[in-house]
């Protein structure tokens, strides 16, 4: 049988799926072991025990000066910025994207502008944000919004434009006004696509968050990583990266779960991501 027709069984799929993770961890542990046996003070590839100890310290021992449990305060600060920024982005995407996709006058007004805004590299706006909004929370949230909202607005506008014309005409013949059309026909149909846009937007959002925190902050996951970099504290950086990855994965999974539950109709046919 040719390779493209050979399908792995359930257990084989699990093994194949786990393989690369196991290989990565094994390679790290071997490398770490070699370096540490040569030099017990090596900081580059800390052992699992060292990383565990460092994280235990950050997660369950209050910091001496502030009394904070740093892992959790960092996580809370970063999540508040990330979720705040993405919520604002999603609202902007709906407010701009739906009229752009549905109403010809709004399309004429918004489409060129949004396209142009999309092309500004968001990071170049960061200094402006710091100057205008100061170094506080606003500029970090704003960076996430500026970085993700235009793309999400375009995605939403495209999703609205992709609704078959038949649906719109059908709505008109059933007596819908423009507002009812948005509320009952357009918005519910694009919500699953908005959720997909949020899931895809979370990637860039993390980058903007970590960048903003690295440059000017007093807390947050990105701040911590860049702070301890000065001391070559790989035993903190590596678990933090794993932790961020885990949070990102969980957010993505929760959004997919929500979409499946709330918009079951959209997941009936085909295979959504």
């Amino acid at each position: 049988m040719r390779l493209i027709n050979q399908r792995p069984g359930h257990s084989e799929r699990l093994v194949l799926g786990a393989m690369l993770f196991v290989l990565l961890v094994a390679a790290y542990l071997i490398g770490s072991d070699i370096r540490l046996s040569e030099n017990p003070d090596d900081k580059l590839l800390p052992s699992l025990a060292q990383m565990g100890a460092a994280i235990w310290q950050l997660a369950f021992q209050p910091e001496q000066r502030s009394g904070d449990y740093l892992l959790w305060t960092d996580t809370a600060a970063s999540l508040a910025r990330l979720l705040g920024g993405m919520t604002i982005s999603a609202l902007i995407a709906l407010l701009i994207g739906i009229p752009t996709g549905l109403i010809p006058r709004a399309r004429a007004a918004f489409a060129p502008f949004v396209t142009a805004i999309c092309l500004i590299p968001p990071i170049t706006i960061l200094p402006i944000l710091f100057i205008v909004f100061g170094l506080g929370e606003t500029s970090k949230v704003m960076l996430i919004v500026i970085g993700t909202a235009p793309y999400m607005a375009r995605t939403v506008a495209q999703a609205v434009a992709d609704i078959p014309q038949e649906q719109i005409v059908k709505g008109l013949t059933l007596g819908a006004n423009t507002w009812q059309m948005i509320l009952r026909v357009v918005m519910p149909q694009i919500m699953p696509k908005l959720i997909t846009a949020i899931r895809l937007g979370l990637g860039p959002a993390w980058i903007f968050l970590i960048s903003a925190e690295a440059i000017a902050s007093t807390g947050g996951l990105g701040y911590r990583i860049f702070l301890v970099r000065r001391y070559l504290s790989m035993d903190v950086i590596l678990p933090y990266v794993a932790w961020i990855t885990f949070i990102a994965f969980t957010l993505d999974w929760l959004l997919l779960l929500y979409s499946r539950k709330r918009y079951r109709w959209a997941h009936l046919s085909g295979t959504a991501l």
Binding site: E166, Q167, T173, L174, G175, N177, P188, Q189, R264
Partner: protein, 274 residues
């Protein structure tokens, strides 16, 4: 004045003519079937009746009123695909017309008014034979059931005219004939005026009380899109047979155009020989 009247309609997109000199008067309660080759403007004619597209020249009247420049609930429509809302269950698809009518701001009905709309929807579901599927989404229905739902949804607004654009084009033959029976019984019950585009000539004869054929009668070999299609046959039917085959005057032109083309081709070949 007839119930539905098209007066000398022309439709052109820039230099591309789609319809020309289309005039027809249809009495109330007529089941008018429309056939013709692909791309000859049958669906365009339907969209003009609906108000979705505007005729470049001429005008359409329904019940004495000029058709407005956008679709309204005066005309119901069923398309071949995408006719029902995929995000609503079968029942919700049938409640939403009432909600559009009665709730301009929220788009939703609550309490007693919702219960009344729901009852009407359930009655319609039973009537159309899909009551068992009330809580399913359209994607979970067969093609035939989806079209049943689409027709039921269009009927709820009690439109003056029902337009059907190849509604059974994607269905199996067995299902198709079930749907034809259903449509005929609805038509007899409501006495509604129906325009139905179909590719299936047998279907057109079986269902219609009037059959019109769209075709191009003028051709320009150098510019195939220069002329649009028009009504070339207009037959009154009874029990699937033509009563009085009225060929419109255009039909005579057909011959002349064909002859013209033939002579033109002849003269060309003669020139090339010389």
């Amino acid at each position: 004045m007839s119930y539905v009247e098209a007066r000398n309609i022309w439709v052109a997109y820039g230099a591309v003519s789609v319809l020309e000199r289309v005039s027809i008067a249809v009495e109330r309660g007529t089941f008018c079937t429309i056939v013709g080759a692909s791309g000859c403007g049958k669906s365009t004619f339907l969209r003009v009746l609906l108000g979705q597209e505007q005729a470049t020249r001429g005008a359409v009247y329904v019940d004495g009123q000029r058709v407005p420049e956008e679709p309204t609930s005066e005309c119901g429509i069923v398309f071949q695909r995408y006719s029902v809302f995929p995000h609503l269950t079968v029942l919700q698809n049938l409640i939403i017309p009432a909600e559009f009518g009665a709730a301009p701001v929220t788009g939703r009905l609550f309490g007693r008014r919702y219960a009344r709309a729901r009852n009407a929807a359930m009655a319609m579901l039973g009537h159309i034979g899909i009551a068992h599927a009330a809580d399913l989404y359209p994607a979970q229905l067969s093609g035939g059931m989806q079209q049943r739902l689409a027709i039921a949804q269009a009927l709820l607004k009690q439109p003056k005219v029902l337009l059907l654009d190849e509604p059974f084009g994607a269905l199996d033959p067995g299902i198709r004939s079930d749907m034809q029976v259903l449509l005929l019984s609805i038509w007899r019950e409501t006495g509604m005026t129906i325009f139905m585009v179909t590719h299936d000539i047998a279907e057109a004869f079986r269902l219609g009380t009037r059959l019109i054929v769209f075709d191009k009668v003028r051709h320009d070999p150098q510019h195939p899109t220069a002329y649009g299609a028009t009504i070339t046959y207009d037959l009154r039917l009874k029990n699937g047979k033509a009563l009085d085959g009225i060929a419109t005057p255009h039909l005579i032109e057909t011959k002349t155009a064909e002859e013209e083309r033939a002579t033109h081709v002849l003269s060309l070949s003669e020139t090339s020989r010389a």
